[in-house]
């Protein structure tokens, strides 16, 4: 009897099978596991999306017994799950959850982990795939990777072994390269899943559908029609007690290097020939490599930084960044970063791409505005109206995911007067399904071995390559004070200097 190359039962199913898996979370008692990973796993279990055999092992420094860890996990899920937990499903998920306490550079932790994974294979009666999820502080990534290699856990007989690495992947270009070398010294690139949860968001994925499933946009998606692009990731909250992390990161590393440049790549890449991991990542890499990093001396002309000072947010007085607990009074960490980038290829040459992100701004919004060039000749009068404005295509990632296109329309009346109107599409009104949490999608993809929505090694280095000169310039520039902007405002006026004549930042 011949073996079947394809599983004939899969066709037509929305949910593709996932190989039976043991998932090991390093940092299992940390904040990310607590708020996102454990609730995401519960939701996958609730939906019946986990593989038919699924085992979960937590590894962390805190000393807990298995039962104590299960109680912690139960509490995390009850608090943060998007679906109300079904007690029987939750009990089933937690029933045989294991916990291994220990520091990450202790060989005995990995020996114990190896024994546990072998035991789980025996229990299943066949080798489970193994996924190691590194949800720890980044300084432990190389330690854990090295230990997994030393313990021989980077390969498993009969099943796949994969490693998921949380952000930040590196601190700058040199550290990212070093970490890539360390990781790829132990695992093959096909085993490595560098996660940026933004890529798991439905709207971000839908940017590809918008561009490549509609003939409407592609003809104007180039330098001939696009005047400029603005990408905004504004937050109205401060650092929320995360001074320890934020002081060492800043806005540029926290959001621009990963999320915002990923948005740039998806917005500007050439159409991939297939929605398949390497085809997509090849196209993203090409466009990222076309963004010429600035020379250090040119950084002030294309990048701007600032910190939020005291101000008023939603009617309440709030502290400035330097007054936040855990922040040095003389801190030079930026809470606001704005860039003007150029993409040096035929499609985009000469089109400015403005990026800005900041904390304690007037409003929480993540959006992309593509502003088209004005019409070449206007036959209408402008008197008595705001007149004809260039068309704008605005893709909103949050809070209300959707797309809005501004058009010029005639104002009712005897005269030919034009004003802009919006044609809007909101996800919330157009689909009956609730979007899954980004982590649910990404955990499932990692277990399935689909790296399409994960960042490849060369891609991560290209991302850091764009940011690295700016980090260097800002680190070296210590003489002038960091500009301040009032909390709750539109951001620092200094960022206006990046804009070309006739351009302005969109109002938040």
């Amino acid at each position: 009897m011949t073996a079947l190359a394809e599983n004939p039962l899969v066709q037509g199913l929305e949910r593709l099978p996932v190989h039976p898996t043991a998932l090991v979370i390093f940092g299992a008692t940390g904040d990310l596991a607590h708020r996102k990973l454990l609730p995401a796993l519960y939701n996958l279990a609730h939906e019946g999306a986990l593989p038919e055999r699924f085992e979960l092992v937590g590894v962390s420094r805190s000393t807990y017994a298995h039962e104590e860890f299960r109680a912690i996990a139960r509490e995390s899920i009850a608090r943060f799950s998007r679906t109300k937990p079904d007690p029987a499903v939750l009990d089933g998920l937690l029933a045989d959850m294991r916990y291994i306490p220990g520091v990450f550079d202790d060989d005995s932790v990995y020996a114990e982990l190896g024994r546990t994974l072998d035991e789980l294979d025996d229990k299943a009666g066949y080798p489970l795939s193994r996924v190691f999820y590194l949800s720890t502080a980044p300084q432990f990534f190389p330690v854990i990777i090295g230990e997994l290699g030393e313990a021989g856990l980077n390969r498993a007989k009969g099943g796949e072994t994969r490693v998921v690495i949380e952000k930040p992947f590196g601190y700058d270009l040199a550290s990212a390269r070093k970490l890539n070398a360390q990781v790829l010294g132990v695992f093959d690139e096909s085993q490595v899943f560098r996660i940026d949860h933004y890529l798991g968001k439905e709207t971000v994925q839908n940017m590809m559908a918008l561009r490549f499933a509609n003939a409407l946009f592609e003809p104007v998606w180039n330098r001939n029609y696009v005047d400029h692009v603005q990408i905004t990731a504004a937050e109205d909250i401060g650092i929320e007690g995360r001074a320890g992390y934020y002081e060492g990161a800043g806005a540029l590393r926290d959001l621009v290097q990963n999320h915002m440049l990923q948005l740039v790549a998806l917005l500007t890449m050439e159409p991939p020939t297939a929605f398949e991991a390497n085809r997509l990542r090849d196209e993203k890499l090409k466009v990222l490599e076309a963004i010429v990093p600035p020379a250090i001396e040119n950084v002030p002309m294309m990048a701007s930084r600032a910190q939020y000072g005291p101000g008023v947010q939603a009617g309440v007085a709030v502290r400035g960044y330097r007054e936040e607990d855990g922040v040095a009074p003389e801190s030079r960490t930026e809470t606001y970063a704005a860039l003007r980038l150029q993409i040096s290829n035929w499609r985009w040459a000469g089109v400015p791409f403005y990026l800005r992100t900041g904390k304690r701004l007037a409003r929480k919004v993540t959006e992309i505005e593509v502003q088209l060039k004005p019409v070449p000749h206007l036959a209408f009068q402008n008197q008595g109206s705001v007149g004809v404005q260039p068309n704008q295509i605005v893709i909103t990632v949050q809070p209300d995911e959707g797309v809005s296109i501004s058009l010029g329309a005639k104002i009712p009346g005897p005269r030919m007067r034009i004003r802009p109107v919006n044609m809007e599409f909101h996800y919330g009104t157009s689909f009956v399904s609730q979007s899954p949490e980004a982590y649910e999608r990404l955990i499932l993809d990692a277990m399935r071995g689909d790296a399409t929505l994960f960042t490849r090694n060369d891609e991560i280095e290209a991302l850091w390559g764009i940011i690295d000169p700016i980090l260097t310039a800002w680190k070296e520039e210590t003489a002038s004070p960091i500009p301040q902007y009032p909390a709750g405002s539109q951001g620092p006026p200094e960022a206006n200097a990046l804009l070309q004549p006739g351009h302005s930042w969109r109002r938040l």
């Binding site: 004939p8 899969v10 209300d400 009956v432």
Partner: protein
């Protein structure tokens, strides 16, 4: 949840349409952040006496509400049309948007069914798909609305004779896309069977299956037959007519190339509609049984070497409200495997099966 309500006795479709437009305009003017959902029209035609029960079922679909639901209650002898429009919404907080859902309830008579299209067409939200559900039959209504319906929702588990229900589904499928709740009840079972045979080392076992046994609630024979039909169509078995036995059991054979597959559909005393279990056995004494349990499906595997393994495949039951909600969601998707599965399921009752 806030509501705006309009109603009129002895009204017309144009008046209902005008009321809908005016209510939307007024609500949007009052709050620009409130916008109507524009996903799907759901037209439901029911017996007047069961209107409340169907309305309750529609309430339980949760987040899978259609954008505009038109519930037509048919009352014998009625000659006029009464209508009530309810526009419901949650006022958005902060910068968010609020979504408006519209429900139109129409009381009409049997005399209106033959030309029901002329009543419904003006009331549909334009440019979005329309799904039709007639849980109490009303063949005249279906015939009238077939041209404007993009999808028909039905439940082959409804009705006393599964052969007739499956034949009706096949008849409708010839002219419109069909979402069958009986088919959706098999989804978790199909997913789990597909996953169980997905590892490359297990796939060849699919070619050696020699026995398929399903267990189902007494009224869900169509679901069981669709699951068997799905396996038959995917694995290219040729079903032969099943024989009926005591307690509603059905058994027979399907030809699978060089061997036969024993097929058995057994009813159980489960309360909720759908399957309660499935067992698949292969020639070399390997078998897998999945049975409904607390927190998911209880799996039990027997291997040729005598090893017995049991475990729980996690998953929460969707319940009947969830099944109906899933039916609404499926209106926007297309499943290419239903038609072949339906054809093979019908062949278990002697209908000629289209080759998968």
């Amino acid at each position: 949840m806030s509501e705006d309500v309009w109603s009129e006795r002895e009204t017309s479709p144009d008046a209902v349409d005008a009321a809908l437009r005016e209510m939307l305009r007024a609500r949007h003017t009052a709050n620009h952040a409130l916008v109507p959902a524009r996903v799907l029209n759901l037209v439901v035609v029911v017996d007047r006496a069961w209107k409340g029960e169907i309305a309750n079922r529609l309430e339980r679909v949760g987040r899978y509400h259609a954008s505009r639901t038109v519930l037509c209650a048919v009352e014998p002898g009625r000659t006029t049309i009464d209508a009530r429009v309810v526009m419901s919404y949650d006022e958005p907080t902060g910068d968010g948007l609020g979504v408006i859902l519209e429900q139109v309830e129409i009381d009409l008579g049997e005399m209106h069914l033959e030309n029901l299209e002329s009543v419904i067409d003006p009331i549909r939200a334009p440019e979005i798909p329309t799904m039709l559900w007639c849980p109490h039959g009303h063949a005249e209504a279906i015939n009238s609305l077939l041209e404007i319906a993009d999808v028909i929702l039905l439940d082959s588990d409804d009705g006393p004779d599964p052969a007739i229900a499956l034949a009706r589904a096949a008849e409708l499928l010839a002219s419109v896309y069909v979402v069958d709740l009986a088919w959706l009840r098999t989804t978790p079972w199909r997913e789990r069977l597909a996953a169980s045979f997905d590892p490359p080392g297990r796939r060849e076992l699919l070619l050696q299956i020699c026995r398929l046994a399903t267990r189902h609630q007494a009224s869900s024979t169509a679901s069981a037959a669709l699951l068997a039909g799905w396996l038959a169509s995917r694995l290219r078995w040729e079903p032969t007519p099943l024989s009926a036995h005591a307690h509603g059991e059905l058994s027979g054979l399907a030809h699978a190339g060089d061997h036969d597959v024993a097929v058995q559909l057994d009813s159980s005393d489960q309360l909720v509609p759908g399957l309660t279990g499935v067992t698949v056995a292969v020639q070399e004494a390997w078998s897998l049984a999945l049975d409904r349990g607390s927190g998911g499906l209880c799996a039990h595997r027997s291997s040729a070497d005598g090893t017995e393994t049991s475990w729980l495949v996690l998953g929460a039951s969707r319940g009947e409200g969830g099944i109906l909600g899933e039916g609404v969601r499926q209106a926007l998707l297309r499943d290419p495997t239903y038609g072949p599965a339906l054809s093979c399921a019908r062949a278990f009752w002697g209908a000629e099966a289209a080759t998968a």
